[in-house]
C-alpha cells in the first residue's frame, strides 16, 4: 500500500517530503532516531501518560509511515465546498458537529469547545482561506484571514492545554503559514494550483529554449551594468510587465485546462522572477535619498 503511490514519484520527490515526515510522525523520546520499520506508536489519548516537563520538547504527530503516502497529494483535487460540508467531521474533543457558520469554513477549530482540530490534509490551501480555487484572488484580504486563523490556531495560545492539542496547534498553525505564503504570490499560487491538479512544475529545470536563454542572460547583464536607480526601475517595470503577460497566459491556460501551456507560463514566470534585480540592489538609490542632511 505504501509503495503503490510512492512508485510513481522520483527519488527526489521522496526525499523532499522529509519535512512532511517530520510533521506526521509520532511523539518520540527526545534525541531518539526515527526507525521507520518500527510499528507506529499511537499518541496517547490520556494526558497523564506522557509527562512533559517543559514546553520545549519536540513533538511529532501521528503515523510515522504516512510520509511515504504523502505523494498522494499530487492527485488530490480541490474538493468543492459542498463536499466539505457534508464530510461529517466532528470535534475530537467534544464531539460537536461544526455549527452552521463554521461549516462554511473548513473545520480547523471547534467553536463549541474552543479546541484545535487535527490537520485534515484533504483541505487545500484555498479552502483554508474560504476561497474558490482560482488564480485571481488578489483582493481577498488574505493577510486578514491568515491572522484570524492564527489567532485561533497559534501554538502560543494553547500553552496551558493538553499536549495533544498543542501538537495540533503546531501543525495547523504551520500549515496556515504555508498556505498563506503559497497563495500570497502569483507564482507560488500558480505552481500550487497545478500541483493540486497533479501537474508538477520542476522549478530547477534549466532553460532549453536558446532564445529565452539569451533573453535571460541579457536581462542579467543589464541588471549588473545598471548604475542608477532609473535604469534599474526601468528593468524592474519591464520585468513586471513580462510577469503580468505570462501570469495572464497562465490564468487563461489553466481556465481552459491546458496544463502544458499553463506549465510553460509558470516556468517563464520563474525565470523572470529570478532574473529580476534583488530588492537590495533596487533599494540602494533609495537609501541614498533617505540619508538625512
Amino acid at each position: 500500500m505504501l509503495h503503490k503511490s510512492a512508485s510513481t514519484m522520483s527519488n527526489r520527490k521522496l526525499c523532499m517530503t522529509l519535512s512532511n515526515f517530520l510533521r506526521r510522525t509520532t511523539l518520540f523520546p527526545q534525541n531518539s532516531t526515527l526507525n521507520l520499520s518500527s510499528p507506529q506508536i499511537k499518541l496517547s489519548s490520556s494526558p497523564f501518560e506522557i509527562q512533559i516537563p517543559n514546553f520545549h520538547k519536540p513533538t511529532f504527530y501521528d503515523n510515522s509511515l504516512e510520509f511515504l503516502r504523502f505523494s498522494g497529494e499530487r492527485s488530490w483535487c480541490s474538493k468543492s465546498a459542498e463536499k466539505l460540508q457534508s464530510s461529517g467531521s466532528r470535534c475530537w474533543n467534544c464531539d460537536a458537529v461544526p455549527t452552521a457558520s463554521e461549516s462554511a469554513a473548513p473545520f480547523l477549530f471547534c467553536e463549541s469547545c474552543q479546541c484545535i482540530q487535527p490537520v485534515d490534509y484533504s483541505i487545500d490551501y484555498f479552502q483554508i482561506f474560504g476561497l474558490e480555487k482560482k488564480y485571481d484572488i488578489e483582493d481577498n484580504n488574505l493577510e486578514g484571514k491568515y491572522k484570524d486563523w492564527q489567532k485561533k490556531l497559534h501554538p502560543d495560545l494553547v500553552h496551558s492545554k493538553s499536549q495533544k492539542e498543542r501538537d495540533f496547534a503546531a501543525e495547523q498553525s504551520a500549515r496556515v503559514i504555508d498556505a498563506y505564503r503559497t497563495l500570497r504570490t502569483p507564482l507560488s499560487r500558480g505552481i500550487y494550483m497545478l500541483k493540486l491538479d497533479g501537474v508538477e512544475v520542476d522549478e530547477e529545470q534549466t532553460i532549453s529554449d536558446p532564445e529565452l536563454l539569451a533573453e535571460i542572460m541579457d536581462i542579467r547583464e543589464e541588471v549588473e551594468e545598471a548604475t542608477n536607480s532609473e535604469t534599474l526601475n526601468h528593468i524592474l517595470s519591464q520585468m513586471q510587465e513580462k510577469m503580468q503577460t505570462w501570469s495572464t497566459a497562465f490564468a487563461d491556460a489553466f481556465q481552459s485546462q491546458k496544463f502544458e501551456e499553463a506549465k510553460t507560463s509558470i516556468q517563464r514566470m520563474t525565470y523572470y522572477s529570478r532574473a529580476t534585480p534583488a530588492r537590495d540592489e533596487s533599494m540602494k538609490p533609495e537609501k541614498e535619498r533617505l540619508k538625512p542632511g
Binding site: S19, L36, P47, H56, K287
Partner: protein, 571 residues
C-alpha cells in the same frame, strides 16, 4: 533548553493538564538590561511594574562580590560609588554572556572597572571581581543568576506566591548559543523560561494591545497598522517592523546589532582621555579606581547632554591626572557619528527586509534608554521624514510591559475585556543553514522567516564511496561558514557506498513556535523508497563552551573528507 544539571524544582514541575486545573500561574515579565532591570506582571486588569524595597521600578544590573556573599542591585543598599570603583562589582553581563574571547565585544569590555582578560583562542574570557585583593573568577551566567535570584525573591515577596515561569526579553542579535546561556542562568536561579522574546517584539505586542484597546471592535484586519520599533539600550540596538490588526502582530522583519549606550560611553571616555585604554591595561587597584571615576563622570555628562547643549566635565582621576573640559552636544554627536550611522542603516535594512516603504509606516516607536538622546530620536525621525514618534509608551518600561503581557497570554489567562486577546507571530532573526560546497554557508531557513518554519534541502556526497557526512549547523548572514555562529554538528554514518553525487542527503530544519530548532538528516539512494539509514534528528544548539575551537579542530581532523555539496540543478 536548560541542562539537566541545573534544572531546579523538577519535582514541582507540572504538566499543562495539571496546571489548567488549578488557578493558572501568571508568568512574570523580566527585562534584563545591560544597565538596568525591571520586572512586571499582569495583575488581572493591567500590567504592573514591581518595585524593590527602595521603591525603584528600575534596578541597576550589577552584582558586587564581597567576602563570600555576592549581592546584586535589587536588594542591596544604594550602590556606593566606592564599590563600583573598587573592582568588586561586575556589570554589563548582558554584553558578555555567551561570547568567546575572540569576540570584539569582549575586547571592548576590557576597560571596565573589573577584570576581563582574553587569550584570543576562542574560549570564554576570564572575568573576575577583586575581593580582598584577590581575583575571584566568575561567569556572566553566574552573575546573571545571582541577580535573577534577587529579582525572584523581590517578586515573590510582593506577589506573595512562588515564581517559576518567566518571559524574558533578549536582544535581536543574540545567537542561539547566547539564548541557551540565558536559559541556563534562569535555571540556576530556579526559573523556568516560558519564552525568550526579542525586545522589540515585546514592544510590538504592547503596541498591538494599545491598538486593540483603542478600537476593540475592530477585529477585521482591514485596519492593519504597520509600526517600526526602534529599541536602543545600553548594550544593544534592535529594530522590528510589525503589522498589527485585530490584536495579531506579525513581525515582518527584525534587525539588531551590538551597539548601545555603552559604546557611546566608551567613545566619549576615549575622547575625554585619549589613550585611556592602554592607561588602564594592567588593572591595578589604582587604575580600576581611575577607570571607574572616568566612567561615572562621562556617564553623567552624557545624561546631562540630553537636556543641555553643553556640560562641564571636571574629574580628578588621581595620580595627577585631571580632566577639566567643556563638552557640547555637537562634539558628542561627532564622536559617535559612526554609531548613529549604524543605527540608521539598521532601520533601513529592517524596512527593506520587511518590504515596507517609509510611507506605509503608521507609527514609529522609539524606546530604550538611548531614546532619551536627542540625536537618536533625530536619526529615527529623519528616516520617517520628521514624523512624530508614537506617544503613549514609557520608553524605559515598554519592553518589560510587553513581556508581562506575553507572560499572561502564554499562561492562558483570559481577560473579560479582551485585553489579552493578543498574539505575536514571531520571525527568525538570523538565517540558519549548514556548511556545504567547500567552506560556504548554505542557509536553509532565511532570516525573517515566519515561525514556525520548516525547510529541507537535498545535498550529496563529494567523494566516491563516502560513507559518512558531517552536518555542521550555522546561524548568521555570512557567505563563508566561519563568518557565522556555529550551533553544533553531527555525523551521519552508514551512507551506502556509491559514486560521489549519487546518495541524496536530505537535511531538514524545523523551528517551532517556541523557537526550538531541530535538524533532521536522512539518506536516500536512487531506486530505493526507504531511507538508507534511520533519519537522524538533533536538537540545536549542541555546542557548549569553546565553540570557536570546534571548527578549527574539525577542519584539522577531517579536512574535506566528510563534506557535502548542494545537489546540482539537473539539465
Amino acid at each position: 533548553m536548560a541542562e539537566p544539571a541545573y534544572t531546579v524544582a523538577s519535582d514541582s514541575e507540572t504538566t499543562g493538564e495539571e496546571k489548567s486545573s488549578a488557578f493558572p500561574e501568571i508568568a512574570i515579565g523580566v527585562d534584563i538590561g545591560t544597565s538596568q532591570c525591571s520586572v512586571a506582571v499582569w495583575n488581572g486588569s493591567q500590567v504592573e511594574l514591581l518595585k524593590n524595597t527602595r521603591n525603584q521600578k528600575m534596578m541597576r544590573s550589577y552584582v558586587t562580590f564581597k567576602e563570600d556573599i555576592p549581592s546584586g542591585g535589587v536588594s542591596s543598599q544604594l550602590l556606593h560609588e566606592h564599590d563600583l570603583l573598587s573592582g568588586s562589582t561586575i556589570f554589563n553581563m548582558k554584553r558578555l554572556i555567551g561570547r568567546v574571547d575572540t569576540d570584539p565585544v569582549v575586547h571592548a569590555s576590557k576597560n571596565l572597572p573589573f577584570l576581563v582578560q582574553t587569550l584570543d583562542i576562542g574560549v570564554r574570557p576570564f572575568i573576575a571581581a577583586l575581593v580582598n585583593n584577590m581575583w575571584r573568577s566568575t561567569t556572566p551566567e553566574e552573575v546573571l543568576a545571582i541577580f535573577l535570584v534577587e529579582l525572584r525573591a523581590m517578586a515573590e515577596a510582593q506577589l506573595k506566591r512562588p515564581i517559576r515561569d518567566v518571559v524574558l526579553t533578549v536582544p535581536v542579535s543574540f545567537s542561539r548559543f547566547q539564548l541557551t546561556r540565558i536559559e541556563r542562568a534562569c535555571a540556576m536561579a530556579g526559573l523556568h523560561v516560558l519564552r525568550l522574546m526579542p525586545e522589540p517584539t515585546a514592544v510590538a505586542l504592547l503596541y498591538g494591545q494599545h491598538q486593540q484597546q483603542a478600537s476593540p471592535d475592530n477585529t477585521d484586519s482591514g485596519s492593519e497598522k504597520i509600526a517600526l520599533i526602534f529599541n536602543m539600550g545600553a548594550g544593544y540596538c534592535d529594530v522590528a517592523v510589525t503589522a498589527t490588526a485585530g490584536g495579531v502582530s506579525q513581525i515582518k522583519a527584525l534587525a539588531g546589532c551590538t551597539i548601545g549606550g555603552e559604546d557611546l560611553l566608551q567613545n566619549m571616555m576615549c575622547h575625554l582621555l585619549p589613550g585611556s585604554q592602554s592607561l588602564f591595561k594592567n588593572h591595578g587597584v589604582k587604575e580600576i579606581k581611575s577607570m571607574g571615576l572616568l566612567r561615572v563622570a562621562t556617564q553623567d555628562a552624557i545624561h546631562r547632554l540630553s537636556s543641555q547643549t553643553n556640560v562641564q566635565v571636571d574629574v580628578d582621576l588621581g595620580d595627577g591626572l585631571k580632566i577639566c573640559k567643556v563638552i557640547d552636544r555637537e562634539e558628542f554627536e561627532e564622536v559617535n557619528k559612526s554609531l548613529f550611522e549604524k543605527c540608521e542603516s539598521l532601520i533601513i535594512q529592517c524596512l527593506q527586509d520587511a518590504k515596507v516603504e517609509v510611507e506605509d509606516v503608521s507609527d514609529v516607536i522609539i524606546v530604550g534608554g538611548c531614546s532619551l538622546i536627542p540625536k537618536v530620536k533625530n536619526v529615527v525621525t529623519n528616516i520617517f521624514k520628521g514624523k512624530e514618534p508614537y506617544k503613549g509608551m514609557n520608553p524605559l518600561e515598554a519592553a518589560v510591559c510587553g513581556a508581562a503581557v506575553e507572560g499572561a497570554v502564554a499562561s492562558g489567562i483570559n481577560d473579560p475585556f479582551g485585553n489579552l486577546d493578543l498574539l505575536t507571530i514571531q520571525a527568525t532573526p538570523h538565517a540558519i543553514g549548514i556548511r556545504a560546497n567547500g567552506n560556504n554557508f548554505i542557509p536553509l531557513i532565511p532570516r525573517n522567516s515566519t515561525m514556525p518554519a520548516r525547510k529541507d534541502v537535498v545535498f550529496t556526497t563529494t567523494h566516491d564511496n563516502q560513507t559518512e557526512a558531517l552536518i555542521i549547523v550555522y546561524e548568521g548572514e555570512g557567505k563563508k561558514a566561519e563568518e557565522n555562529n556555529m550551533l553544533g554538528y553531527f555525523k551521519i554514518s552508514g551512507i551506502p557506498r556509491a559514486a560521489k553525487g549519487v546518495p541524496e542527503i536530505n537535511v531538514c530544519m524545523d523551528i517551532d513556535a517556541a523557537n526550538v530548532l531541530r535538524v533532521l538528516a536522512g539518506v536516500v539512494m536512487p531506486g530505493c523508497r526507504q531511507p538508507a539509514i534511520p533519519v537522524m534528528e538533533v536538537r540545536m544548539p549542541t555546542v557548549d563552551d569553546g565553540h570557536g575551537w570546534c571548527t578549527e579542530a574539525l577542519n584539522r581532523s577531517y579536512g574535506g573528507r566528510l563534506d557535502l555539496v548542494t545537489v546540482e540543478k539537473k539539465a
